[in-house]
Protein backbone atom coordinates (compact mmCIF):
# COMPACT_ATOMS: atom_id res chain seq x y z
CA UNK A 1 0.00 0.00 0.00
CA UNK A 2 2.81 2.40 0.93
CA UNK A 3 6.20 1.95 -0.72
CA UNK A 4 9.14 4.20 0.13
CA UNK A 5 12.38 3.81 -1.84
CA UNK A 6 15.67 5.65 -1.34
CA UNK A 7 14.04 8.61 0.41
CA UNK A 8 16.26 11.61 1.13
CA UNK A 9 15.38 14.86 2.89
CA UNK A 10 17.27 17.92 4.03
CA UNK A 11 16.78 20.61 6.68
CA UNK A 12 18.78 23.44 5.20
CA UNK A 13 22.16 21.87 4.50
CA UNK A 14 21.92 18.96 6.93
CA UNK A 15 21.18 15.67 5.25
CA UNK A 16 18.54 14.16 7.57
CA UNK A 17 17.21 11.20 5.59
CA UNK A 18 19.91 9.29 3.74
CA UNK A 19 18.03 6.73 1.70
CA UNK A 20 15.12 5.27 3.67
CA UNK A 21 13.32 2.19 2.32
CA UNK A 22 10.13 0.92 3.92
CA UNK A 23 6.81 -0.73 3.07
CA UNK A 24 3.42 -0.95 4.71
CA UNK A 25 0.91 -3.46 3.31
CA UNK A 26 -2.88 -3.08 3.33
CA UNK A 27 -4.21 -3.48 6.85
CA UNK A 28 -0.70 -4.08 8.21
CA UNK A 29 0.60 -2.57 11.48
CA UNK A 30 4.22 -1.48 11.17
CA UNK A 31 6.35 0.42 13.69
CA UNK A 32 9.22 2.76 13.01
CA UNK A 33 11.52 2.79 16.03
CA UNK A 34 14.75 4.49 16.98
CA UNK A 35 16.32 7.06 19.27
CA UNK A 36 15.59 10.78 19.15
CA UNK A 37 16.94 12.62 16.15
CA UNK A 38 17.48 9.65 13.83
CA UNK A 39 14.89 10.88 11.33
CA UNK A 40 11.71 8.97 12.21
CA UNK A 41 9.48 12.05 12.33
CA UNK A 42 11.17 13.50 9.27
CA UNK A 43 10.35 10.29 7.39
CA UNK A 44 6.60 10.65 7.99
CA UNK A 45 6.77 14.41 7.36
CA UNK A 46 8.49 13.78 4.03
CA UNK A 47 5.88 11.17 3.08
CA UNK A 48 3.16 13.71 3.97
CA UNK A 49 4.80 16.51 1.98
CA UNK A 50 5.55 18.73 4.97
CA UNK A 51 9.29 18.31 4.36
CA UNK A 52 10.41 18.28 0.71
CA UNK A 53 11.14 14.63 -0.23
CA UNK A 54 13.65 13.29 -2.75
CA UNK A 55 13.15 9.71 -3.84
CA UNK A 56 10.17 7.50 -4.57
CA UNK A 57 7.03 7.41 -2.45
CA UNK A 58 4.14 5.36 -3.80
CA UNK A 59 0.74 5.11 -2.12
CA UNK A 60 -1.81 2.69 -3.61
CA UNK A 61 0.45 2.56 -6.67
CA UNK A 62 0.37 6.33 -7.19
CA UNK A 63 3.53 8.43 -6.97
CA UNK A 64 2.86 10.97 -4.20
CA UNK A 65 6.35 12.40 -3.61
CA UNK A 66 6.10 16.19 -3.45
CA UNK A 67 2.30 16.44 -3.81
CA UNK A 68 0.62 19.08 -1.60
CA UNK A 69 -0.39 17.42 1.67
CA UNK A 70 -4.14 17.94 1.19
CA UNK A 71 -4.00 15.84 -1.99
CA UNK A 72 -2.07 13.11 -0.21
CA UNK A 73 -4.63 13.15 2.61
CA UNK A 74 -7.48 12.86 0.12
CA UNK A 75 -5.93 9.72 -1.36
CA UNK A 76 -6.57 8.10 2.03
CA UNK A 77 -3.33 8.67 3.92
CA UNK A 78 -3.96 9.97 7.44
CA UNK A 79 -1.34 11.68 9.61
CA UNK A 80 -1.38 12.36 13.35
CA UNK A 81 1.59 14.66 14.04
CA UNK A 82 3.91 14.51 17.00
CA UNK A 83 2.68 17.63 18.74
CA UNK A 84 -1.02 16.74 18.72
CA UNK A 85 -1.95 19.80 16.70
CA UNK A 86 -5.48 20.23 17.95
CA UNK A 87 -7.27 23.46 17.11
CA UNK A 88 -7.34 24.95 20.61
CA UNK A 89 -10.03 27.61 20.16
CA UNK A 90 -12.50 25.19 18.55
CA UNK A 91 -14.62 22.75 20.55
CA UNK A 92 -13.91 19.03 20.68
CA UNK A 93 -16.89 18.41 18.38
CA UNK A 94 -15.72 21.07 15.89
CA UNK A 95 -12.24 19.53 15.87
CA UNK A 96 -13.72 16.15 15.02
CA UNK A 97 -16.00 17.57 12.32
CA UNK A 98 -13.00 19.17 10.61
CA UNK A 99 -11.54 15.69 10.17
CA UNK A 100 -14.27 14.91 7.63
CA UNK A 101 -12.96 15.61 4.14
CA UNK A 102 -16.25 15.58 2.30
CA UNK A 103 -19.48 16.04 4.22
CA UNK A 104 -21.46 14.43 1.39
CA UNK A 105 -19.55 11.14 1.69
CA UNK A 106 -19.32 10.16 5.36
CA UNK A 107 -16.76 7.47 6.14
CA UNK A 108 -16.98 4.41 8.34
CA UNK A 109 -16.10 6.33 11.52
CA UNK A 110 -19.00 8.41 12.84
CA UNK A 111 -18.81 11.31 15.25
CA UNK A 112 -21.09 9.46 17.67
CA UNK A 113 -18.88 6.33 17.60
CA UNK A 114 -15.90 8.45 18.61
CA UNK A 115 -17.78 10.04 21.47
CA UNK A 116 -19.10 6.63 22.61
CA UNK A 117 -15.59 5.24 22.53
CA UNK A 118 -14.21 8.05 24.70
CA UNK A 119 -16.60 9.21 27.44
CA UNK A 120 -14.01 11.84 28.41
CA UNK A 121 -14.29 13.48 25.00
CA UNK A 122 -18.07 13.14 25.02
CA UNK A 123 -18.29 14.94 28.35
CA UNK A 124 -16.28 17.82 26.90
CA UNK A 125 -17.73 17.78 23.39
CA UNK A 126 -18.70 21.43 23.53
CA UNK A 127 -15.74 22.89 25.40
CA UNK A 128 -12.66 24.40 23.78
CA UNK A 129 -10.18 21.66 22.93
CA UNK A 130 -7.31 23.75 24.28
CA UNK A 131 -8.15 22.77 27.88
CA UNK A 132 -7.91 19.00 27.35
CA UNK A 133 -5.19 16.94 29.03
CA UNK A 134 -2.32 15.51 27.00
CA UNK A 135 -3.92 12.08 26.76
CA UNK A 136 -7.29 13.50 25.73
CA UNK A 137 -5.59 15.62 23.07
CA UNK A 138 -3.91 12.50 21.71
CA UNK A 139 -7.27 10.68 21.52
CA UNK A 140 -8.82 13.74 19.87
CA UNK A 141 -6.18 14.15 17.14
CA UNK A 142 -6.22 10.45 16.37
CA UNK A 143 -10.03 10.35 16.22
CA UNK A 144 -10.04 13.54 14.11
CA UNK A 145 -7.80 11.91 11.51
CA UNK A 146 -9.97 8.76 11.58
CA UNK A 147 -13.02 10.90 10.71
CA UNK A 148 -11.36 11.40 7.33
CA UNK A 149 -11.60 7.64 6.74
CA UNK A 150 -7.93 6.89 5.99
CA UNK A 151 -6.76 3.52 4.63
CA UNK A 152 -3.35 4.06 6.24
CA UNK A 153 -2.77 6.19 9.32
CA UNK A 154 0.69 7.41 10.35
CA UNK A 155 0.86 8.20 14.07
CA UNK A 156 3.91 10.04 15.36
CA UNK A 157 4.92 9.45 19.02
CA UNK A 158 1.40 9.07 20.44
CA UNK A 159 2.58 8.19 23.94
CA UNK A 160 5.17 10.91 24.40
CA UNK A 161 4.82 12.54 27.81
CA UNK A 162 1.79 10.49 28.87
CA UNK A 163 1.24 8.64 32.15
CA UNK A 164 1.48 4.80 32.02
CA UNK A 165 -2.28 4.33 32.43
CA UNK A 166 -2.99 6.70 29.51
CA UNK A 167 -0.31 4.99 27.42
CA UNK A 168 -2.33 1.80 27.91
CA UNK A 169 -5.48 3.54 26.60
CA UNK A 170 -3.65 4.91 23.58
CA UNK A 171 -2.43 1.39 22.89
CA UNK A 172 -6.02 0.09 23.06
CA UNK A 173 -7.15 2.76 20.59
CA UNK A 174 -4.40 1.86 18.14
CA UNK A 175 -5.25 -1.82 18.46
CA UNK A 176 -8.88 -0.98 17.73
CA UNK A 177 -7.91 0.97 14.60
CA UNK A 178 -5.91 -2.04 13.42
CA UNK A 179 -8.91 -4.34 14.05
CA UNK A 180 -11.00 -2.10 11.81
CA UNK A 181 -8.65 -2.99 8.95
CA UNK A 182 -6.82 0.33 8.77
CA UNK A 183 -3.09 0.01 8.09
CA UNK A 184 -0.88 1.77 10.66
CA UNK A 185 2.62 3.20 10.53
CA UNK A 186 3.48 3.88 14.17
CA UNK A 187 6.46 6.04 15.05
CA UNK A 188 7.62 5.31 18.59
CA UNK A 189 10.54 5.49 20.94
CA UNK A 190 9.12 3.17 23.59
CA UNK A 191 8.89 -0.49 22.72
CA UNK A 192 5.81 -1.46 24.74
CA UNK A 193 2.94 -0.66 22.34
CA UNK A 194 4.99 -1.27 19.22
CA UNK A 195 5.92 -4.81 20.28
CA UNK A 196 2.37 -5.59 21.35
CA UNK A 197 0.55 -4.70 18.13
CA UNK A 198 3.09 -4.58 15.28
CA UNK A 199 3.43 -7.23 12.63
CA UNK A 200 6.80 -5.85 11.58
CA UNK A 201 9.20 -3.25 12.99
CA UNK A 202 11.81 -1.01 11.38
CA UNK A 203 14.63 0.55 13.38
CA UNK A 204 16.21 3.74 12.16
CA UNK A 205 19.69 5.10 12.87
CA UNK A 206 21.58 7.97 11.26
CA UNK A 207 18.89 8.70 8.68
CA UNK A 208 18.42 5.16 7.32
CA UNK A 209 16.77 1.87 8.25
CA UNK A 210 19.23 -0.33 10.16
CA UNK A 211 16.98 -3.25 11.11
CA UNK A 212 13.83 -4.81 9.73
CA UNK A 213 12.02 -7.79 11.20
CA UNK A 214 9.18 -9.11 13.35
CA UNK A 215 8.83 -8.15 17.02
CA UNK A 216 10.02 -11.65 17.96
CA UNK A 217 13.14 -11.28 15.87
CA UNK A 218 13.86 -7.97 17.56
CA UNK A 219 13.35 -9.53 21.00
CA UNK A 220 15.87 -12.22 20.12
CA UNK A 221 18.44 -9.75 18.82
CA UNK A 222 20.00 -8.10 21.87
CA UNK A 223 22.87 -6.63 19.84
CA UNK A 224 20.54 -4.56 17.65
CA UNK A 225 18.53 -3.38 20.63
CA UNK A 226 21.66 -2.35 22.47
CA UNK A 227 23.21 -0.52 19.55
CA UNK A 228 20.14 1.31 18.20
CA UNK A 229 17.51 1.52 20.93
CA UNK A 230 18.68 1.29 24.49
CA UNK A 231 20.22 4.31 26.14
Amino acid sequence: MLEVRDLHAYYGKSHILQGVDLDVGAGEVVSLLGRNGVGRSTTVKAIMGEVAPQGTIRFKGKDIAGLPSYKIARLGLGYVPEHRDIFPSLTVRQNLVLGIKDTRRPGKWRLQDMLDMFPNLAARADTAAGVLSGGEKQMLTTCRTLMGDPDLIMIDEPTEGLAPLIVQQVGDLIARIAQAGVAILLVEQKLSIAMRISKRVYIMGHGRVVFEGTPDELKANAAVRQEWLEV
Binding site: Y70, R74, F87, L90, L98, K101
Partner: protein
Protein backbone atom coordinates in the same frame (compact mmCIF):
# COMPACT_ATOMS: atom_id res chain seq x y z
CA UNK B 1 -20.00 69.68 26.74
CA UNK B 2 -22.69 66.93 26.55
CA UNK B 3 -23.14 67.73 22.89
CA UNK B 4 -19.41 67.30 22.33
CA UNK B 5 -19.46 63.93 24.11
CA UNK B 6 -22.43 62.56 22.14
CA UNK B 7 -21.13 63.71 18.74
CA UNK B 8 -17.58 62.58 19.46
CA UNK B 9 -18.80 59.18 20.63
CA UNK B 10 -20.78 58.72 17.42
CA UNK B 11 -17.84 59.82 15.28
CA UNK B 12 -15.43 57.73 17.32
CA UNK B 13 -17.50 54.56 17.00
CA UNK B 14 -17.85 55.22 13.28
CA UNK B 15 -14.11 55.69 12.80
CA UNK B 16 -13.53 52.62 14.96
CA UNK B 17 -15.86 50.45 12.85
CA UNK B 18 -14.10 51.63 9.68
CA UNK B 19 -10.79 50.70 11.26
CA UNK B 20 -12.23 47.29 12.08
CA UNK B 21 -13.19 46.67 8.44
CA UNK B 22 -9.49 47.10 7.70
CA UNK B 23 -7.85 45.58 10.75
CA UNK B 24 -10.01 42.41 10.73
CA UNK B 25 -8.63 41.39 7.34
CA UNK B 26 -5.09 42.39 8.21
CA UNK B 27 -5.01 40.49 11.47
CA UNK B 28 -6.55 37.31 10.01
CA UNK B 29 -4.08 37.36 7.10
CA UNK B 30 -1.19 37.84 9.50
CA UNK B 31 -2.31 35.04 11.77
CA UNK B 32 -2.79 32.52 8.97
CA UNK B 33 0.14 33.26 6.73
CA UNK B 34 2.55 34.95 9.11
CA UNK B 35 2.78 37.89 6.73
CA UNK B 36 2.16 41.45 7.81
CA UNK B 37 0.56 42.81 4.64
CA UNK B 38 1.97 46.30 4.12
CA UNK B 39 -0.26 46.77 1.10
CA UNK B 40 -3.46 46.34 3.11
CA UNK B 41 -4.11 50.09 3.41
CA UNK B 42 -3.37 50.38 -0.31
CA UNK B 43 -6.34 48.12 -1.02
CA UNK B 44 -8.40 50.55 1.06
CA UNK B 45 -7.13 53.38 -1.13
CA UNK B 46 -7.85 51.42 -4.32
CA UNK B 47 -11.38 50.90 -3.01
CA UNK B 48 -11.86 54.66 -2.63
CA UNK B 49 -10.48 55.47 -6.09
CA UNK B 50 -12.34 52.65 -7.83
CA UNK B 51 -15.45 53.78 -5.95
CA UNK B 52 -14.97 57.33 -7.21
CA UNK B 53 -14.42 56.27 -10.81
CA UNK B 54 -17.23 53.73 -10.93
CA UNK B 55 -19.60 56.21 -9.28
CA UNK B 56 -18.88 58.57 -12.16
CA UNK B 57 -19.58 55.90 -14.74
CA UNK B 58 -22.39 53.82 -13.30
CA UNK B 59 -23.49 55.49 -10.06
CA UNK B 60 -22.70 55.03 -6.37
CA UNK B 61 -24.76 51.93 -5.57
CA UNK B 62 -23.32 49.63 -8.24
CA UNK B 63 -19.87 51.02 -7.36
CA UNK B 64 -20.43 50.07 -3.72
CA UNK B 65 -20.68 46.41 -4.79
CA UNK B 66 -18.35 46.36 -7.79
CA UNK B 67 -15.32 48.20 -6.40
CA UNK B 68 -14.79 45.77 -3.47
CA UNK B 69 -15.24 42.80 -5.83
CA UNK B 70 -12.60 44.18 -8.19
CA UNK B 71 -10.14 44.86 -5.39
CA UNK B 72 -10.90 41.44 -3.90
CA UNK B 73 -9.96 39.87 -7.24
CA UNK B 74 -6.72 41.87 -7.28
CA UNK B 75 -6.01 40.68 -3.73
CA UNK B 76 -6.57 37.05 -4.73
CA UNK B 77 -4.22 37.47 -7.69
CA UNK B 78 -1.57 38.98 -5.40
CA UNK B 79 -1.82 35.95 -3.10
CA UNK B 80 -1.94 33.36 -5.89
CA UNK B 81 0.80 34.71 -8.17
CA UNK B 82 2.84 36.84 -5.77
CA UNK B 83 2.88 35.61 -2.19
CA UNK B 84 2.52 31.92 -2.98
CA UNK B 85 5.62 32.02 -5.17
CA UNK B 86 7.66 34.09 -2.72
CA UNK B 87 6.59 31.93 0.23
CA UNK B 88 9.41 29.41 -0.25
CA UNK B 89 11.96 32.21 0.16
CA UNK B 90 10.69 33.02 3.65
CA UNK B 91 8.77 35.79 5.39
CA UNK B 92 11.24 38.56 4.59
CA UNK B 93 10.68 38.08 0.85
CA UNK B 94 6.92 38.11 1.39
CA UNK B 95 7.14 41.23 3.51
CA UNK B 96 9.23 43.01 0.86
CA UNK B 97 6.71 42.00 -1.79
CA UNK B 98 3.82 43.65 0.06
CA UNK B 99 6.03 46.63 0.90
CA UNK B 100 6.90 47.16 -2.76
CA UNK B 101 3.29 46.62 -3.75
CA UNK B 102 2.19 49.45 -1.44
CA UNK B 103 4.57 51.88 -3.19
CA UNK B 104 3.60 50.63 -6.63
CA UNK B 105 -0.11 51.09 -5.93
CA UNK B 106 0.45 54.60 -4.57
CA UNK B 107 2.44 55.60 -7.67
CA UNK B 108 -0.04 54.06 -10.08
CA UNK B 109 -2.93 55.79 -8.35
CA UNK B 110 -1.24 59.19 -8.49
CA UNK B 111 -0.29 58.63 -12.15
CA UNK B 112 -3.92 57.97 -13.07
CA UNK B 113 -5.80 60.31 -10.76
CA UNK B 114 -3.15 62.85 -9.80
CA UNK B 115 -1.98 63.87 -6.35
CA UNK B 116 -4.73 66.30 -5.37
CA UNK B 117 -7.91 65.31 -3.54
CA UNK B 118 -10.76 64.03 -5.71
CA UNK B 119 -14.26 65.45 -5.77
CA UNK B 120 -15.83 62.25 -4.40
CA UNK B 121 -19.24 63.32 -3.13
CA UNK B 122 -21.79 61.79 -0.85
CA UNK B 123 -24.60 60.33 -3.03
CA UNK B 124 -27.58 62.71 -3.31
CA UNK B 125 -29.89 60.11 -1.80
CA UNK B 126 -27.99 60.24 1.49
CA UNK B 127 -27.08 63.91 1.48
CA UNK B 128 -29.33 65.19 4.23
CA UNK B 129 -29.12 65.54 8.00
CA UNK B 130 -30.35 62.37 9.71
CA UNK B 131 -31.19 64.09 12.96
CA UNK B 132 -30.28 67.10 14.99
CA UNK B 133 -28.84 66.76 18.47
CA UNK B 134 -28.55 69.99 20.40
CA UNK B 135 -27.44 72.29 17.59
CA UNK B 136 -25.52 69.82 15.43
CA UNK B 137 -26.95 68.26 12.28
CA UNK B 138 -25.72 64.67 12.07
CA UNK B 139 -25.35 63.64 8.41
CA UNK B 140 -27.34 60.65 7.18
CA UNK B 141 -24.30 59.44 5.24
CA UNK B 142 -22.42 58.82 8.47
CA UNK B 143 -25.29 56.74 9.78
CA UNK B 144 -25.17 54.79 6.50
CA UNK B 145 -21.42 54.18 6.98
CA UNK B 146 -22.05 52.95 10.49
CA UNK B 147 -24.83 50.63 9.30
CA UNK B 148 -22.68 49.11 6.55
CA UNK B 149 -19.82 48.47 8.99
CA UNK B 150 -22.12 46.85 11.53
CA UNK B 151 -23.76 44.63 8.89
CA UNK B 152 -20.35 43.45 7.65
CA UNK B 153 -19.24 42.82 11.22
CA UNK B 154 -22.27 40.65 11.95
CA UNK B 155 -21.96 38.81 8.63
CA UNK B 156 -18.29 38.10 9.30
CA UNK B 157 -19.13 36.75 12.74
CA UNK B 158 -21.84 34.43 11.38
CA UNK B 159 -19.61 33.07 8.62
CA UNK B 160 -16.71 32.46 11.00
CA UNK B 161 -18.71 30.90 13.83
CA UNK B 162 -21.51 29.10 12.04
CA UNK B 163 -20.18 27.73 8.76
CA UNK B 164 -17.78 24.94 7.88
CA UNK B 165 -15.62 27.33 5.88
CA UNK B 166 -15.46 29.55 8.97
CA UNK B 167 -14.31 26.58 11.05
CA UNK B 168 -11.56 25.79 8.56
CA UNK B 169 -10.43 29.42 8.62
CA UNK B 170 -10.38 29.45 12.44
CA UNK B 171 -8.41 26.20 12.49
CA UNK B 172 -5.94 27.53 9.93
CA UNK B 173 -5.34 30.59 12.13
CA UNK B 174 -3.32 28.46 14.52
CA UNK B 175 -2.36 25.28 12.60
CA UNK B 176 -2.40 25.79 8.83
CA UNK B 177 -0.29 22.64 8.19
CA UNK B 178 -2.62 20.42 10.18
CA UNK B 179 -5.61 21.70 8.20
CA UNK B 180 -3.80 20.55 5.06
CA UNK B 181 -3.05 17.14 6.56
CA UNK B 182 -6.78 16.68 7.15
CA UNK B 183 -7.38 17.03 3.41
CA UNK B 184 -8.47 20.67 3.15
CA UNK B 185 -6.93 22.80 0.42
CA UNK B 186 -5.19 25.39 2.58
CA UNK B 187 -3.85 27.28 -0.44
CA UNK B 188 -7.37 27.95 -1.61
CA UNK B 189 -8.41 29.03 1.88
CA UNK B 190 -5.46 31.46 2.01
CA UNK B 191 -6.38 32.90 -1.37
CA UNK B 192 -10.03 33.32 -0.39
CA UNK B 193 -9.14 34.94 2.93
CA UNK B 194 -6.72 37.31 1.22
CA UNK B 195 -9.41 38.17 -1.32
CA UNK B 196 -12.11 38.76 1.30
CA UNK B 197 -9.70 40.79 3.45
CA UNK B 198 -8.80 43.02 0.49
CA UNK B 199 -12.44 43.38 -0.49
CA UNK B 200 -13.38 44.48 3.04
CA UNK B 201 -10.58 47.05 3.00
CA UNK B 202 -11.85 48.29 -0.35
CA UNK B 203 -15.41 48.48 0.95
CA UNK B 204 -14.15 50.68 3.79
CA UNK B 205 -12.48 52.84 1.13
CA UNK B 206 -15.62 53.16 -1.00
CA UNK B 207 -17.75 54.30 1.91
CA UNK B 208 -15.08 56.41 3.62
CA UNK B 209 -13.98 58.13 0.40
CA UNK B 210 -16.79 60.72 0.26
CA UNK B 211 -16.66 61.42 4.02
CA UNK B 212 -12.89 61.66 4.41
CA UNK B 213 -10.43 62.76 1.75
CA UNK B 214 -9.81 60.62 -1.33
CA UNK B 215 -6.21 61.32 -2.20
CA UNK B 216 -3.15 59.32 -3.27
CA UNK B 217 -1.53 59.60 0.18
CA UNK B 218 -4.54 58.19 2.05
CA UNK B 219 -2.97 54.72 2.32
CA UNK B 220 0.28 56.06 3.70
CA UNK B 221 -1.53 58.11 6.33
CA UNK B 222 -3.88 55.33 7.46
CA UNK B 223 -1.42 52.42 7.32
CA UNK B 224 0.49 53.20 10.53
CA UNK B 225 -2.73 53.59 12.54
CA UNK B 226 -3.82 50.19 11.25
CA UNK B 227 -0.66 48.55 12.53
CA UNK B 228 -1.19 50.23 15.88
CA UNK B 229 -4.70 48.73 15.99
CA UNK B 230 -3.63 45.14 15.33
CA UNK B 231 -0.62 45.26 17.64
CA UNK B 232 -2.70 46.91 20.37
CA UNK B 233 -5.46 44.32 19.97
CA UNK B 234 -3.03 41.40 19.75
CA UNK B 235 -1.78 40.07 16.44
CA UNK B 236 -4.14 37.48 15.02
CA UNK B 237 -7.01 38.15 17.41
CA UNK B 238 -10.30 39.24 15.86
CA UNK B 239 -11.97 40.24 19.15
CA UNK B 240 -8.77 42.11 19.99
CA UNK B 241 -8.85 43.93 16.67
CA UNK B 242 -12.50 44.86 17.28
CA UNK B 243 -11.87 46.33 20.72
CA UNK B 244 -8.66 48.05 19.65
CA UNK B 245 -10.39 49.58 16.61
CA UNK B 246 -13.08 51.08 18.82
CA UNK B 247 -10.59 52.27 21.45
CA UNK B 248 -8.30 53.93 18.90
CA UNK B 249 -11.29 55.37 17.04
CA UNK B 250 -12.78 56.88 20.20
CA UNK B 251 -9.49 58.06 21.70
CA UNK B 252 -8.45 59.82 18.54
CA UNK B 253 -11.82 61.43 17.92
CA UNK B 254 -12.05 62.70 21.48
CA UNK B 255 -8.48 63.96 21.47
CA UNK B 256 -9.16 66.00 18.34
CA UNK B 257 -12.34 67.41 19.79
CA UNK B 258 -10.93 68.42 23.16
CA UNK B 259 -9.40 71.82 23.48
CA UNK B 260 -7.86 71.60 26.94
CA UNK B 261 -4.21 72.13 27.75
CA UNK B 262 -2.16 71.78 30.92
CA UNK B 263 -2.39 75.53 31.30
CA UNK B 264 -6.17 75.52 31.32
CA UNK B 265 -6.32 72.53 33.67
CA UNK B 266 -3.98 73.94 36.28
CA UNK B 267 -4.85 77.60 35.84
CA UNK B 268 -3.01 79.78 38.31
CA UNK B 269 -0.50 77.07 39.23
CA UNK B 270 1.01 77.06 35.80
CA UNK B 271 4.58 78.25 35.47
CA UNK B 272 3.81 80.22 32.34
CA UNK B 273 2.91 83.23 34.46
CA UNK B 274 6.60 83.84 34.05
CA UNK B 275 8.23 82.91 30.72
CA UNK B 276 10.19 79.64 30.87
CA UNK B 277 11.18 76.67 28.68
CA UNK B 278 8.05 74.94 29.89
CA UNK B 279 5.68 77.57 28.55
CA UNK B 280 5.36 75.83 25.19
CA UNK B 281 4.69 72.43 26.69
CA UNK B 282 2.19 73.95 29.12
CA UNK B 283 0.14 75.55 26.37
CA UNK B 284 -0.06 72.60 23.92
CA UNK B 285 -3.71 71.56 23.52
CA UNK B 286 -4.89 67.97 23.53
CA UNK B 287 -6.08 68.46 19.95
CA UNK B 288 -2.56 69.30 18.93
CA UNK B 289 -1.13 66.06 20.31
CA UNK B 290 -4.04 63.94 18.98
CA UNK B 291 -2.06 62.48 16.07
CA UNK B 292 0.52 60.93 18.36
CA UNK B 293 -1.96 59.51 20.88
CA UNK B 294 -2.31 56.12 19.07
CA UNK B 295 1.45 55.69 19.04
CA UNK B 296 1.70 56.52 22.72
CA UNK B 297 -0.91 53.81 23.33
CA UNK B 298 1.16 51.43 21.20
CA UNK B 299 4.27 52.05 23.28
CA UNK B 300 2.31 51.67 26.52
CA UNK B 301 0.73 48.37 25.51
CA UNK B 302 4.08 46.99 24.37
CA UNK B 303 5.55 47.82 27.77
CA UNK B 304 2.65 46.51 29.84
CA UNK B 305 1.37 43.61 27.72
CA UNK B 306 3.62 42.76 24.76
CA UNK B 307 1.17 40.26 23.26
CA UNK B 308 -1.50 42.96 22.94
CA UNK B 309 -4.93 43.06 24.55
CA UNK B 310 -6.21 39.65 23.43
CA UNK B 311 -3.20 38.25 21.63
CA UNK B 312 -1.61 34.94 22.43
CA UNK B 313 1.83 35.40 20.93
CA UNK B 314 4.49 38.02 21.60
CA UNK B 315 4.43 40.78 19.03
Amino acid sequence: MLELIVISTLNGVLFGMLLFLLSSGLTVIFSMMGVLNFAHASFYMLGAFFGFQLTKWIGFWPALVLAPLLVGAIGMAVERYGLRNTHKHGHVAELLLTFGLAFAIEEIVSMIWGKSPLDYRVPALLDFPAFTIFSTNYPAYKIFMLAVSVIIFVALLIVLKRTRVGLIVQAALTHPHMVGHLGHNVGRVFMAVFGVGSALAALAGVIAGPALVTQSDMAASLGPILFVVIVFGGLGSLPGAFIASLVIGLVQTFAVALDGSLASAFGPLDPSSGPSVLTDVWNVTIAQVAPIVPYVLLVLILIVRPMGLMGTRET
